[in-house]
């Protein structure tokens, strides 16, 4: 692509080396890989069993009650939707902004997005009282002319998330086409080669194809960009459109989007750092890339911290006794541990990235990223559960803590996500061959194989 995208840090590599190193990740899996795969399968089995309990016995196997009708499941839904943000952000927005450190990491980030959204999409189904009737929520044509209630934020949710998943998946696939062609060219088994042939859509790498390809890529990047903003805004409206103190607030859309990007970046870091060690691709995904992400993570963490402070200010400024009560309850009440865990993990710990030493140390990067993963889960739990447990009438106040079945589903969702990811890294290149090559300086291209 254009000159300014040339990445000086890839200077010492050749095209052949890039092909070899990246495609080597698709080689025969080792024992550790298989072990991880089986572990993830086990977690998925646990999660599936727990979901089965909800279906056969009822939602009562969770600890949900009156007044807390949403708990761990919706918390984890928002958590995964949030994680599904960094991918498209890194990929589309940074592409449009021509940010140089994007190339090495965007494939892994996009994959995170798709698998996170696929995981998140399960939760609204899991939490339903009657999942077998879930199709009532879809706007399908039927003889009774019964439509869903388009005023309900849950219907908006269905539409926003399915749109986001569709566009992200197409964007992901378009980016993969040249790489699939490279795999096709290397594969020897004819049946497998045939599959790659279809998926590569006849890619030959001609100038004409590149011209159309780039136009399509820019188009999809442009389409995906507003969706990054819209999807989490819509998810935030599940809460903001309600009347419940602590939910009913206009700040939620930007606050949730910032939080989503924060959590998404943290998850991409959490995945990339072990990945580059495992596949020995530290020379392609360099500290330079990781530091770039750390800076954006720090920036979004500051936005999130500001949003926390603003919520308290507005609660006080509104003079609304219900609003004031819930913001007194959060830091001092029954769930104070969750609240302070959230502040520590999302604001205090990420501010360590102000120090270059921390954001250029692999251990520092990984630990902060893991802390943010926890913190963002705490944030959603804090918003959802505290508000429901202490709403308008003190008589109704109650408390909630997840049951083993709910924890099992949470574990299962991680198993499911990483299972998909593990399968992905052995099937498709987790780093874009084409774009890494593109961003290499001119001189080295000469010794391309």
């Amino acid at each position: 692509m254009s000159e300014h995208r040339v990445n000086p840090n890839l200077g010492r590599l050749s095209y052949a080396q890039v092909n070899r190193d990246i495609l080597a990740t698709l080689g025969k899996p080792g024992k550790i890989y298989l072990g991880l795969l089986i572990f993830c399968l086990g977690l998925v089995a646990v999660g599936g069993y727990c979901w089965g309990q909800i279906i056969w016995k009822g939602v009562g196997v969770t600890n949900l009650n009156n007044p807390v009708g949403w708990g761990l499941l919706i918390t984890t839904f928002v958590f995964w939707v949030g994680i599904g943000h960094a991918g498209t952000l890194i990929s589309a927005i940074l592409f449009l902004l021509r940010v140089p450190w994007r190339t090495a990491i965007f494939r892994a980030a996009e994959t995170t997005t798709i698998f996170a959204v696929v995981t998140a999409g399960l939760f609204p189904l899991i939490h339903l009282g009657r999942v077998w009737a879930m199709y009532y929520i879809l706007p399908y044509a039927n003889g009774r002319q019964l439509w869903p209630n388009f005023r309900s934020p849950l219907v908006w949710d269905v539409l926003a998330i399915s749109t986001y998943l569709t566009v992200s998946a197409i964007f992901f696939f378009v980016g993969l086409v040249p790489d699939i062609a490279a795999i096709r060219d290397r594969s020897k088994v004819s049946a497998v080669r045939w599959v790659w042939k279809i998926l590569s859509l006849g890619w030959m790498g001609s100038t004409r194809q590149w011209k159309h390809y780039l136009a399509a890529y820019v188009l999809f990047a442009g389409l995906a960009t507003p969706l990054v903003i819209s999807v989490h805004s819509v998810v935030s409206w599940d809460f903001a459109m309600s009347v419940i103190p602590g939910w009913h607030t206009t700040i939620f859309a930007p606050y949730f989007v910032a939080g989503a990007i924060l959590s998404g970046l943290a998850m991409v870091l959490t995945i990339l750092i072990p990945l580059r060690a495992a596949f020995r691709i530290g020379h392609i995904i360099r500290l330079y890339h990781l530091e770039g992400m750390a800076k954006v993570l720090l920036f979004t963490s500051l936005i999130v911290g500001y949003a926390y402070a603003t919520e308290f200010f507005i609660a006080w400024y509104s003079g609304n006794p219900f609003e004031i009560a819930i913001f007194k309850f959060r830091p001092t009440g029954h769930y104070a541990g969750i609240f302070w865990g959230m502040v520590t993990c999302n604001v205090v710990i990420p501010s360590l990235f102000f120090f270059k030493k921390v954001r250029t140390s692999l251990v520092g990067l990984l630990l902060v990223a893991i802390a943010v993963n926890f913190g963002m889960w705490f944030e959603r739990f804090n918003i959802i559960v505290t508000s429901l447990s202490h709403d308008f009438l003190p008589h109704n106040w109650g408390s909630y803590w997840p049951s083993p079945v709910e924890w099992g589903i949470l574990a299962g969702s991680f198993g499911w996500f990483f299972l998909l990811f593990l399968m992905f890294v052995k099937i498709l290149p987790s780093i874009s061959l084409a774009e890494v090559k593109e961003s290499m300086p001119e001189g080295v291209k000469e010794d391309a194989a």
Partner: protein, 703 residues
Amino acid sequence: FDVALAGLPQLPEVAPYVHRLMKAANPVVLFGGTEVLGANATATHAAVLLTNALRGALGKSLRFGEHSAWNKVDPAQRTFELVDQAGSGKLDVLLVSDANPAYALPGGLSAAKKLAACQSLIALGYEHNETTELARVVLPTHHPLEAWGDYDVRDGAVGMMQPVRVPLTASRHTGDVLLDLARRAGKQPSHPDFRGVIAAHWTSRVVPDLTDVLVKGGKFSGPKSPPAGSPHGGPALVPQRLRDLAGPLAKIPAPVAGAGQATLIAPLSAALYDGRATGRDWLMELPDSLIQSAWEVPVELALDVAASLRAETGDRISLRTGIGEIVATAVIGSDLAEGTVALRMGGGRTFTKEKLDSGSVMKLLDPVVDPLSGELAFCQARVSLTRVSDGELVSVSGGTDSQDRFLCLSVELEDAKAGHFPMMTRHGDVQPEHGKAHGKPLPMPADDMAAEGKRPDDNNYELVKHPESRWGMVVDLDKCTGCGACVVACFAENNIPMVGRAQVMKGREMQWMRIEKHVFRNEGRQLRVRFMPVMCQQCAQAPCETVCPVFASYHTPDGLNAQIYNRCIGTRYCSNNCPYKVRRFNYFDYERESPAQQQLNPDVTVRSRGVMEKCTFCIQRIREATNRAKFEGRKLRDGEVQSACAATCPSGAITFGDLKLAGSQVARLAADPRGYRLLDYQVNTRPAVVYLRRVYSGEGGEG
């Protein structure tokens, strides 16, 4: 009287009450319940009666009822003697019918041991209990709902009981059993069965044909006219007899004394009475309004007692008197007087499906009687208390402090008389300027929504219109006693599943309406407890309706927030978004053990797991009545439809009807200046339920 007062010792606690009693225009002093009745019960009543007589309340604010069935009952003293005789083997045969002396009598009597010693104890009854367990012969008899019978309502009115269903099991009527016994003894009764006895009794005495009695609703006027001299149909109190009352006063025994940290009070339980209803699911799951606890008979500890024990709500407490020791679950009762503990009757039953954690208070009592009446002295003992272990109480209340949220409101009688009503605004309950009334009256749900005028934040959605009628309810907080009969009526009418102790503990009770307890302290720092029944408020701008993705929650043209059970997919969003939290989710399929399914109301759906359910003002009754009116080609009359709660409320606190029907009772009451709508001004929900403020007199505002 003032002179007499001057001679009395100065009692600072009593002084303000005496002052108010002397000042009031129509004073009345009320009698206490079992909780104040010790061995001096008769004397206490005499003193109260005398005070009322001296302040001229007799026949005015206080009037006497007609003779009660209680007058015909032997005092407890007689029962105690009978049990003693059984224990000493003096009785050949003892017949116990529909009673449970082995459980219900004071522990000091050792009734179970004595009855077990009786050679032929024969128990008749419709359920297995502690006494049938001891009996040589147990004869199952009809439940009252299966039996013919009769009863005295009051002098001049007697009623017939007829069975409402065929007997569930192979039981017999107690009367038939006795008739058979007579036959075996060689006597030939005049009638083949007990129904014949009853029919013959009533037909010969009052009317020629039994059918006549039943056609009249099973009830008819007796021959007796009210005694002369009593305007209310009750006996007149002859002034000369007042002198007799002075007698008992001279014999007031000393107050309860003895070892132990606290005085034990043994009140009757509101739902379980003396324990005879313990184990019945509806009454077990009905929370006691004062304690806000279900499936338990906890011991209430006064604040100072709890502090000295370092006990918290839910702890297991051991109570010991000279008679016995039991363990009960504690609840800190801020409503109790210093140095007292209260344990309601009803705990410690053995033959119930679900066992309670708390024992029976009767085990702590001696058969001490009031010498004047021969009745058991309920307040007789001091108890020693020890904290045994941690535990958990099934509490249904998240808090009784309204947190200045303007939820359960009151008004001063003087202000109300002068027309100075506080007005609900978005900032709460605003009192009028001193000596002035508010200029603009409150808009009421009886008015058309559009006519209510728009507030600035009213423009999100089109206002809901109710073209013909809007069903509404008025709840008079001044009349509500918190008895909970409405809640149980709702159970029965709407097929509400009982979820059991563990699920109530988790906060999953399915009750569509509840009695909230609110505790206030007035300016004199006196405690004031108020009860507030809360059911679905049937908002015109309902938060639940907009959020349901599948239209399971929708608004009917006559103003109900209806719920389509088979459309619901169970997102629970409606419940989350309900400011009143009156929606209930079916977390499980709750089983109805046979034969409980025979109780189900055929007009109401039985909901399955995964579905949200709620109060719809008994929509099945509304639809039945509107259809009937339509078939008969007429308009629905006011009062023709009653919700189950309104029909059941013994004090008439709940009024139901059409707010848009001109002149309807509910519309009239909704326009009462005492009226306000719960959370309406805070959340803008426009409920169809209007609460009427509790009225207090001469106490000042709330501090």
